[in-house]
Symmetry: C2
Subunit: 89 residues, 2 copies
């Protein structure tokens, strides 16, 4: 594969694994519940993504920084929604 195609796969992968969390956020806001979404998964994932942000900053990688900042915000909103809706009973 030539280098342009390889880069394409990298950006395609980054966009997909970042944008993927938007449907989860929309679903959670629509259904007003996320009981089946694991709290431990969300906390571990958000901590991991935060570490990716530090890593991206330290190695000065804009793609890693950008993708992970968006992923961080989306997952933080999913976590906040989950906690907010779980307290409504």
């Amino acid at each position: 594969m030539n280098s342009i195609n390889i880069e394409f796969f990298g950006y395609f992968a980054a966009i997909l694994t970042t944008a993927a969390f938007l449907p989860q956020l929309i679903k959670t806001l629509k259904t007003k519940k996320a009981d089946d979404v694991s709290l431990v998964t969300l906390i571990m994932f958000i901590s991991g993504v935060f570490s990716w942000i530090i890593y991206g900053y330290e190695i000065s990688s804009l793609p890693i920084l950008l993708a992970n900042i968006i992923t961080f915000i989306l997952n933080l909103l999913i976590l906040i929604s989950k906690i907010f809706y779980s307290k409504k009973y």
Copy 2:
């Protein structure tokens, strides 16, 4: 930050964002439901992770390959469980 600490953050991030999906899989298998987990999110995320595997293979990055193969397997099992349990009514 020195380069050893930077690498530590990279590996720490990779382990967290990979292992994070294990609690979701365990929760889904225990509760036998994942209705609140977005199907679109799972399909987009799995496709993105698959693209990361191709990218990691093409740039010969073992950490990207390893982390994404495990993430791929875990999320595929979550997707299969979700579909399997949603059909039991």
